[in-house]
Protein backbone atom coordinates (compact mmCIF):
# COMPACT_ATOMS: atom_id res chain seq x y z
CA UNK A 1 0.00 0.00 0.00
CA UNK A 2 1.07 3.58 -0.28
CA UNK A 3 3.46 4.36 2.52
CA UNK A 4 6.03 7.10 3.18
CA UNK A 5 9.14 6.08 1.37
CA UNK A 6 12.16 7.26 3.29
CA UNK A 7 14.72 7.79 0.61
CA UNK A 8 18.25 6.89 1.44
CA UNK A 9 19.40 9.15 -1.30
CA UNK A 10 20.75 12.60 -0.54
CA UNK A 11 19.72 15.25 -2.97
CA UNK A 12 21.38 18.60 -3.58
CA UNK A 13 19.82 21.87 -4.76
CA UNK A 14 19.05 21.68 -8.47
CA UNK A 15 18.54 17.93 -8.66
CA UNK A 16 15.50 16.78 -10.55
CA UNK A 17 12.94 15.16 -8.28
CA UNK A 18 10.28 14.41 -10.82
CA UNK A 19 7.98 15.78 -13.46
CA UNK A 20 5.17 18.16 -12.53
CA UNK A 21 2.68 15.69 -13.89
CA UNK A 22 3.93 13.01 -11.51
CA UNK A 23 4.71 14.80 -8.25
CA UNK A 24 3.80 17.93 -6.36
CA UNK A 25 6.51 20.18 -4.92
CA UNK A 26 6.52 20.23 -1.12
CA UNK A 27 8.92 21.81 1.34
CA UNK A 28 12.47 22.03 0.06
CA UNK A 29 11.40 21.56 -3.55
CA UNK A 30 10.04 23.88 -6.18
CA UNK A 31 8.40 23.72 -9.55
CA UNK A 32 10.28 25.32 -12.43
CA UNK A 33 7.57 26.80 -14.63
CA UNK A 34 9.44 26.74 -17.89
CA UNK A 35 9.88 23.01 -18.20
CA UNK A 36 7.39 21.69 -15.62
CA UNK A 37 9.96 19.83 -13.58
CA UNK A 38 10.25 19.67 -9.82
CA UNK A 39 13.73 20.44 -8.54
CA UNK A 40 15.17 20.30 -5.01
CA UNK A 41 16.07 23.60 -3.37
CA UNK A 42 17.79 22.26 -0.24
CA UNK A 43 20.40 19.67 0.57
CA UNK A 44 18.89 16.72 2.36
CA UNK A 45 16.96 13.49 2.11
CA UNK A 46 14.18 13.04 -0.36
CA UNK A 47 10.83 12.09 1.12
CA UNK A 48 7.72 11.19 -0.86
CA UNK A 49 4.43 11.73 0.90
CA UNK A 50 1.43 9.95 -0.58
CA UNK A 51 -1.60 12.05 -1.41
CA UNK A 52 -4.58 11.96 0.92
CA UNK A 53 -7.28 9.80 -0.62
CA UNK A 54 -9.87 12.56 -0.40
CA UNK A 55 -8.00 15.13 -2.43
CA UNK A 56 -8.81 15.44 -6.14
CA UNK A 57 -5.16 15.80 -7.04
CA UNK A 58 -3.66 12.34 -6.67
CA UNK A 59 -0.03 13.25 -7.09
CA UNK A 60 2.36 12.35 -4.27
CA UNK A 61 4.22 15.25 -2.65
CA UNK A 62 7.99 15.15 -2.68
CA UNK A 63 9.81 16.98 0.12
CA UNK A 64 13.44 17.49 1.03
CA UNK A 65 14.27 17.54 4.71
CA UNK A 66 17.52 19.28 5.48
CA UNK A 67 20.12 17.08 7.06
CA UNK A 68 21.33 19.86 9.26
CA UNK A 69 19.03 22.05 11.28
CA UNK A 70 18.57 25.53 9.93
CA UNK A 71 16.88 28.46 11.56
CA UNK A 72 13.62 30.03 10.54
CA UNK A 73 13.48 31.68 7.13
CA UNK A 74 10.89 34.36 6.30
CA UNK A 75 8.23 33.07 3.94
CA UNK A 76 5.62 34.91 1.95
CA UNK A 77 2.87 36.02 4.30
CA UNK A 78 4.63 35.17 7.53
CA UNK A 79 4.56 37.66 10.40
CA UNK A 80 8.04 38.73 11.43
CA UNK A 81 9.49 40.86 14.23
CA UNK A 82 12.15 43.27 13.00
CA UNK A 83 14.22 46.11 14.41
CA UNK A 84 14.29 49.30 12.35
CA UNK A 85 17.86 50.24 11.40
CA UNK A 86 17.46 53.18 9.07
CA UNK A 87 14.64 55.53 8.21
CA UNK A 88 14.77 57.36 4.90
CA UNK A 89 12.38 59.60 3.05
CA UNK A 90 10.57 56.88 1.15
CA UNK A 91 11.36 53.69 3.04
CA UNK A 92 12.72 52.20 6.22
CA UNK A 93 15.13 49.28 6.55
CA UNK A 94 14.82 46.76 9.31
CA UNK A 95 16.75 43.71 10.51
CA UNK A 96 14.45 40.70 10.77
CA UNK A 97 14.94 39.03 14.16
CA UNK A 98 12.09 36.49 14.49
CA UNK A 99 9.87 34.67 12.04
CA UNK A 100 6.65 33.82 13.82
CA UNK A 101 7.68 32.56 17.26
CA UNK A 102 11.18 31.40 16.24
CA UNK A 103 14.32 33.50 16.21
CA UNK A 104 16.40 33.52 13.06
CA UNK A 105 19.92 32.13 12.93
CA UNK A 106 21.33 34.52 10.36
CA UNK A 107 20.66 38.12 9.47
CA UNK A 108 17.84 38.97 7.09
CA UNK A 109 17.11 42.50 5.95
CA UNK A 110 13.66 43.85 5.25
CA UNK A 111 12.44 47.07 3.67
CA UNK A 112 9.17 48.80 4.53
CA UNK A 113 8.24 51.12 1.69
CA UNK A 114 6.23 54.30 2.16
CA UNK A 115 3.18 52.78 0.47
CA UNK A 116 3.25 49.70 2.69
CA UNK A 117 3.24 51.44 6.06
CA UNK A 118 -0.51 51.68 6.38
CA UNK A 119 -3.62 50.94 4.40
CA UNK A 120 -5.14 54.42 4.13
CA UNK A 121 -3.72 57.67 2.65
CA UNK A 122 -0.54 55.95 1.59
CA UNK A 123 0.90 58.93 -0.28
CA UNK A 124 0.76 61.18 2.77
CA UNK A 125 2.82 58.89 4.97
CA UNK A 126 5.78 60.55 6.69
CA UNK A 127 8.34 57.83 7.37
CA UNK A 128 9.83 59.74 10.28
CA UNK A 129 6.44 59.92 12.01
CA UNK A 130 5.90 56.18 11.58
CA UNK A 131 9.23 54.62 12.56
CA UNK A 132 12.50 55.61 14.16
CA UNK A 133 15.81 53.74 14.19
CA UNK A 134 15.75 51.21 17.03
CA UNK A 135 12.01 50.55 17.06
CA UNK A 136 10.79 46.96 17.19
CA UNK A 137 8.06 46.38 14.63
CA UNK A 138 5.77 43.51 13.74
CA UNK A 139 5.40 43.23 9.98
CA UNK A 140 4.26 40.73 7.42
CA UNK A 141 6.38 39.60 4.49
CA UNK A 142 4.96 41.02 1.26
CA UNK A 143 7.41 39.43 -1.10
CA UNK A 144 10.83 37.86 -1.18
CA UNK A 145 12.05 41.09 -2.77
CA UNK A 146 15.47 41.32 -4.32
CA UNK A 147 18.89 40.01 -3.34
CA UNK A 148 19.30 42.69 -0.72
CA UNK A 149 16.07 42.64 1.27
CA UNK A 150 12.62 41.23 1.81
CA UNK A 151 9.68 43.59 1.31
CA UNK A 152 7.67 43.99 4.51
CA UNK A 153 4.33 45.59 5.18
CA UNK A 154 2.75 47.05 8.32
CA UNK A 155 -0.55 47.88 6.64
CA UNK A 156 -2.80 46.17 9.16
CA UNK A 157 -4.09 47.14 12.58
CA UNK A 158 -2.09 44.50 14.40
CA UNK A 159 1.12 45.33 12.54
CA UNK A 160 3.42 48.22 13.32
CA UNK A 161 5.64 49.42 16.15
CA UNK A 162 5.48 47.08 19.11
CA UNK A 163 8.12 48.62 21.33
CA UNK A 164 10.04 51.88 21.06
CA UNK A 165 12.35 54.00 23.16
CA UNK A 166 11.69 57.67 23.68
CA UNK A 167 14.30 60.42 23.29
CA UNK A 168 14.71 60.37 27.06
CA UNK A 169 15.59 56.66 26.95
CA UNK A 170 12.48 55.07 28.47
CA UNK A 171 10.27 52.43 26.86
CA UNK A 172 7.19 54.22 25.62
CA UNK A 173 3.57 53.32 26.27
CA UNK A 174 1.20 53.19 23.27
CA UNK A 175 -1.73 55.57 23.45
CA UNK A 176 -3.39 55.27 20.05
CA UNK A 177 -2.52 53.86 16.67
CA UNK A 178 -0.40 56.93 15.96
CA UNK A 179 0.99 57.99 19.33
CA UNK A 180 3.23 56.65 22.07
CA UNK A 181 4.03 58.43 25.31
CA UNK A 182 7.23 58.46 27.34
CA UNK A 183 6.58 57.61 31.01
CA UNK A 184 9.48 59.74 32.28
CA UNK A 185 8.82 63.03 30.54
CA UNK A 186 5.26 62.69 29.28
CA UNK A 187 6.29 63.58 25.75
CA UNK A 188 4.21 62.12 22.98
CA UNK A 189 5.97 60.75 19.94
CA UNK A 190 4.36 59.71 16.69
CA UNK A 191 4.70 56.15 15.43
CA UNK A 192 2.61 53.66 13.46
CA UNK A 193 1.64 51.59 16.50
CA UNK A 194 0.53 47.96 16.38
CA UNK A 195 -2.74 47.11 18.07
CA UNK A 196 -1.94 44.57 20.75
CA UNK A 197 -4.25 42.19 22.56
CA UNK A 198 -7.60 41.02 21.31
Amino acid sequence: MAMEVEGEEMVTPGEVLGKASDVKAGRGAYLAPHNKTVYASLTGRRIVIPPSPASPDQRPTVEVTGHKAYGAVPELGSVVIARVTKVMAKMASADIMCVGPKAVREKFTGIIRQQDVRATEIDKVDMHLSFRPGDIVRASVLSLGDARAYYLSTAKNELGVVSAESIAGATMVPISWTEMQCPLTGQIELRKVAKSGG
Binding site: K86, V87, M88, A89, M127, H128, R132, P133, I167, A168, L184, T185, Q187
Partner: protein, 243 residues
Protein backbone atom coordinates in the same frame (compact mmCIF):
# COMPACT_ATOMS: atom_id res chain seq x y z
CA UNK B 1 13.44 75.85 48.79
CA UNK B 2 11.51 78.24 46.60
CA UNK B 3 14.13 80.91 47.10
CA UNK B 4 16.87 78.57 46.06
CA UNK B 5 15.13 77.51 42.89
CA UNK B 6 14.33 81.12 42.00
CA UNK B 7 17.97 81.89 42.52
CA UNK B 8 18.81 79.02 40.19
CA UNK B 9 16.85 80.44 37.27
CA UNK B 10 17.71 84.09 37.73
CA UNK B 11 21.35 83.32 38.16
CA UNK B 12 21.57 81.15 35.05
CA UNK B 13 19.74 83.30 32.52
CA UNK B 14 22.20 85.09 30.21
CA UNK B 15 25.04 83.17 31.82
CA UNK B 16 27.36 80.68 30.23
CA UNK B 17 26.12 77.16 31.00
CA UNK B 18 27.80 73.82 30.35
CA UNK B 19 26.29 70.37 29.78
CA UNK B 20 25.05 68.90 33.02
CA UNK B 21 23.97 72.15 34.67
CA UNK B 22 20.50 71.91 36.14
CA UNK B 23 18.80 75.16 35.34
CA UNK B 24 15.18 74.62 36.29
CA UNK B 25 13.45 72.57 38.93
CA UNK B 26 9.93 71.83 37.75
CA UNK B 27 8.70 70.42 41.04
CA UNK B 28 9.11 73.75 42.77
CA UNK B 29 7.55 75.88 40.06
CA UNK B 30 3.86 76.58 39.78
CA UNK B 31 1.92 74.80 37.07
CA UNK B 32 2.90 76.47 33.87
CA UNK B 33 3.90 75.37 30.42
CA UNK B 34 7.51 75.96 29.59
CA UNK B 35 8.81 75.87 26.06
CA UNK B 36 12.27 74.40 25.70
CA UNK B 37 14.38 75.35 22.75
CA UNK B 38 17.64 73.86 21.58
CA UNK B 39 20.28 72.71 24.02
CA UNK B 40 17.95 71.87 26.90
CA UNK B 41 16.44 68.57 27.90
CA UNK B 42 13.92 67.38 30.43
CA UNK B 43 15.02 64.75 32.94
CA UNK B 44 11.86 63.87 34.84
CA UNK B 45 11.52 66.94 37.07
CA UNK B 46 14.53 69.00 36.16
CA UNK B 47 15.66 70.78 33.06
CA UNK B 48 19.32 70.29 32.35
CA UNK B 49 21.67 71.68 29.75
CA UNK B 50 22.90 69.60 26.83
CA UNK B 51 25.02 72.14 24.95
CA UNK B 52 27.54 74.66 26.19
CA UNK B 53 26.46 78.25 25.58
CA UNK B 54 24.46 81.10 27.02
CA UNK B 55 21.08 80.37 28.55
CA UNK B 56 18.45 82.69 27.13
CA UNK B 57 14.92 83.38 28.26
CA UNK B 58 12.13 85.14 26.47
CA UNK B 59 8.78 86.02 28.02
CA UNK B 60 6.56 84.38 28.86
CA UNK B 61 8.01 80.91 29.00
CA UNK B 62 10.71 80.16 26.41
CA UNK B 63 14.16 78.93 27.41
CA UNK B 64 16.97 77.99 25.11
CA UNK B 65 20.75 77.79 24.91
CA UNK B 66 22.55 79.91 22.36
CA UNK B 67 25.90 78.61 21.28
CA UNK B 68 28.22 79.17 18.41
CA UNK B 69 30.22 76.50 16.70
CA UNK B 70 31.67 75.74 13.32
CA UNK B 71 29.53 72.65 12.76
CA UNK B 72 25.92 73.12 11.72
CA UNK B 73 22.99 71.07 13.02
CA UNK B 74 20.22 71.17 10.40
CA UNK B 75 16.97 72.68 11.57
CA UNK B 76 13.67 73.07 9.69
CA UNK B 77 13.05 76.45 7.97
CA UNK B 78 16.70 77.55 8.18
CA UNK B 79 18.08 79.35 5.13
CA UNK B 80 21.55 78.10 4.35
CA UNK B 81 24.27 78.04 1.74
CA UNK B 82 25.10 74.64 0.31
CA UNK B 83 27.56 73.36 -2.26
CA UNK B 84 26.50 70.70 -4.75
CA UNK B 85 28.58 67.55 -4.38
CA UNK B 86 26.83 65.16 -6.74
CA UNK B 87 23.59 64.68 -8.61
CA UNK B 88 21.49 61.54 -8.58
CA UNK B 89 18.30 60.61 -10.41
CA UNK B 90 15.92 62.36 -8.03
CA UNK B 91 18.09 64.58 -5.88
CA UNK B 92 21.17 66.73 -5.80
CA UNK B 93 23.52 65.85 -2.96
CA UNK B 94 24.43 69.09 -1.22
CA UNK B 95 27.05 69.67 1.45
CA UNK B 96 25.70 71.95 4.19
CA UNK B 97 28.44 71.62 6.81
CA UNK B 98 26.23 69.23 8.76
CA UNK B 99 26.65 65.65 9.93
CA UNK B 100 25.39 64.24 6.61
CA UNK B 101 24.88 65.43 3.06
CA UNK B 102 21.48 66.89 2.34
CA UNK B 103 19.14 66.00 -0.52
CA UNK B 104 17.78 68.71 -2.81
CA UNK B 105 14.97 67.22 -4.89
CA UNK B 106 15.41 67.87 -8.58
CA UNK B 107 11.89 69.29 -8.80
CA UNK B 108 12.13 71.63 -5.79
CA UNK B 109 12.43 74.78 -7.91
CA UNK B 110 9.83 77.27 -9.02
CA UNK B 111 8.22 75.88 -12.15
CA UNK B 112 10.33 72.76 -11.90
CA UNK B 113 9.24 69.88 -14.10
CA UNK B 114 10.95 66.76 -15.37
CA UNK B 115 11.76 68.62 -18.60
CA UNK B 116 13.66 71.58 -17.16
CA UNK B 117 15.83 70.02 -14.50
CA UNK B 118 18.79 72.32 -13.77
CA UNK B 119 22.26 70.94 -14.35
CA UNK B 120 24.52 71.85 -11.49
CA UNK B 121 28.11 70.71 -11.49
CA UNK B 122 30.02 69.87 -8.35
CA UNK B 123 30.96 72.99 -6.42
CA UNK B 124 27.95 75.11 -7.37
CA UNK B 125 26.91 77.36 -4.48
CA UNK B 126 23.19 77.42 -3.72
CA UNK B 127 21.04 79.43 -1.33
CA UNK B 128 18.46 76.96 -0.08
CA UNK B 129 15.90 76.38 2.65
CA UNK B 130 15.76 73.31 4.91
CA UNK B 131 12.44 71.49 4.55
CA UNK B 132 12.95 68.36 6.65
CA UNK B 133 15.61 67.77 9.26
CA UNK B 134 15.24 64.68 11.41
CA UNK B 135 17.95 62.98 13.40
CA UNK B 136 19.41 60.05 11.52
CA UNK B 137 17.91 60.97 8.15
CA UNK B 138 19.51 63.10 5.45
CA UNK B 139 17.99 66.59 5.55
CA UNK B 140 15.79 67.65 2.67
CA UNK B 141 16.22 71.07 1.06
CA UNK B 142 14.25 73.23 -1.31
CA UNK B 143 14.97 76.17 -3.61
CA UNK B 144 11.48 77.63 -3.13
CA UNK B 145 9.80 79.20 -0.15
CA UNK B 146 6.81 77.62 1.55
CA UNK B 147 4.39 78.89 -1.09
CA UNK B 148 6.41 77.61 -4.03
CA UNK B 149 7.96 80.86 -5.24
CA UNK B 150 11.65 81.19 -6.02
CA UNK B 151 12.15 84.11 -3.59
CA UNK B 152 15.94 84.65 -3.93
CA UNK B 153 16.76 80.94 -3.53
CA UNK B 154 18.96 79.29 -6.11
CA UNK B 155 22.43 79.61 -7.56
CA UNK B 156 24.82 82.31 -6.34
CA UNK B 157 27.06 83.29 -9.21
CA UNK B 158 30.52 84.87 -8.93
CA UNK B 159 31.42 86.41 -5.62
CA UNK B 160 33.38 84.89 -2.79
CA UNK B 161 32.20 82.45 -0.13
CA UNK B 162 33.86 82.06 3.25
CA UNK B 163 33.03 80.09 6.36
CA UNK B 164 32.26 81.47 9.78
CA UNK B 165 30.78 80.13 12.97
CA UNK B 166 27.04 79.69 13.34
CA UNK B 167 26.94 82.37 16.03
CA UNK B 168 28.39 84.99 13.70
CA UNK B 169 25.85 84.11 10.99
CA UNK B 170 23.02 84.57 13.45
CA UNK B 171 24.44 87.91 14.57
CA UNK B 172 24.72 89.11 10.97
CA UNK B 173 21.10 88.15 10.36
CA UNK B 174 19.71 89.75 13.49
CA UNK B 175 17.43 92.73 13.26
CA UNK B 176 17.98 95.66 13.65
CA UNK B 177 20.85 95.43 11.21
CA UNK B 178 24.11 94.27 12.63
CA UNK B 179 26.50 97.25 13.22
CA UNK B 180 29.29 95.92 11.01
CA UNK B 181 26.97 95.45 8.03
CA UNK B 182 25.39 98.83 8.58
CA UNK B 183 28.75 100.58 8.71
CA UNK B 184 30.01 98.78 5.62
CA UNK B 185 26.79 99.45 3.76
CA UNK B 186 27.07 103.19 4.28
CA UNK B 187 30.32 103.43 2.35
CA UNK B 188 30.45 100.45 0.00
CA UNK B 189 28.00 98.70 -2.27
CA UNK B 190 28.02 94.95 -2.27
CA UNK B 191 25.72 91.91 -2.31
CA UNK B 192 25.75 89.50 0.56
CA UNK B 193 24.07 86.17 1.33
CA UNK B 194 24.29 84.71 4.81
CA UNK B 195 23.64 81.07 5.58
CA UNK B 196 22.72 79.97 9.08
CA UNK B 197 25.10 77.06 8.63
CA UNK B 198 28.13 79.31 8.97
CA UNK B 199 28.70 80.29 5.33
CA UNK B 200 28.69 83.83 3.95
CA UNK B 201 28.83 84.86 0.30
CA UNK B 202 29.88 88.35 -0.76
CA UNK B 203 29.83 89.84 -4.23
CA UNK B 204 30.83 93.33 -5.35
CA UNK B 205 32.01 95.16 -8.44
CA UNK B 206 35.69 95.17 -7.49
CA UNK B 207 37.72 92.46 -5.75
CA UNK B 208 39.11 94.90 -3.22
CA UNK B 209 35.61 95.65 -1.97
CA UNK B 210 34.91 91.95 -1.63
CA UNK B 211 38.09 91.43 0.38
CA UNK B 212 37.39 94.43 2.57
CA UNK B 213 33.86 93.30 3.38
CA UNK B 214 34.91 89.69 4.05
CA UNK B 215 37.74 90.68 6.35
CA UNK B 216 35.55 93.13 8.24
CA UNK B 217 32.93 90.44 8.83
CA UNK B 218 35.45 87.83 9.87
CA UNK B 219 36.97 90.20 12.39
CA UNK B 220 33.67 91.23 13.93
CA UNK B 221 32.69 88.10 15.78
CA UNK B 222 33.86 88.95 19.25
CA UNK B 223 33.46 92.72 19.03
CA UNK B 224 30.62 94.71 20.50
CA UNK B 225 28.55 97.08 18.36
CA UNK B 226 30.69 100.13 19.05
CA UNK B 227 33.92 98.23 18.51
CA UNK B 228 32.59 96.93 15.19
CA UNK B 229 31.91 100.47 13.96
CA UNK B 230 35.37 101.62 15.02
CA UNK B 231 36.95 98.62 13.28
CA UNK B 232 35.11 99.38 10.06
CA UNK B 233 36.12 103.06 10.25
CA UNK B 234 39.76 102.12 10.60
CA UNK B 235 39.57 99.68 7.68
CA UNK B 236 37.90 102.29 5.48
CA UNK B 237 40.53 104.89 6.37
CA UNK B 238 43.35 102.52 5.48
CA UNK B 239 41.59 101.62 2.29
CA UNK B 240 40.99 105.25 1.26
CA UNK B 241 44.51 106.30 2.10
CA UNK B 242 46.12 103.50 0.14
CA UNK B 243 43.92 103.68 -2.98
Amino acid sequence: MDDRSLNLTTSFIDQIVVPGDVVLDLSSMSNQTIKLGGGLRQDCDTISVMKAGKLKFSKPNKYWVESSQKRYVPCVEDTILGTVVDSKADNFLVDIKGPTLAFLPVLAFEGGTRRNIPKYEAGTLLYVRVVKANAGMNPELSCTDASGKAAEFGVLKDGYMFETSTGLSRMLLSSPTCPVLEALGKKLSFEIAIGLNGRVWVNAASPSTVILVSNAIMNSESLSGVQQRIMVEKLMQKFQSSS
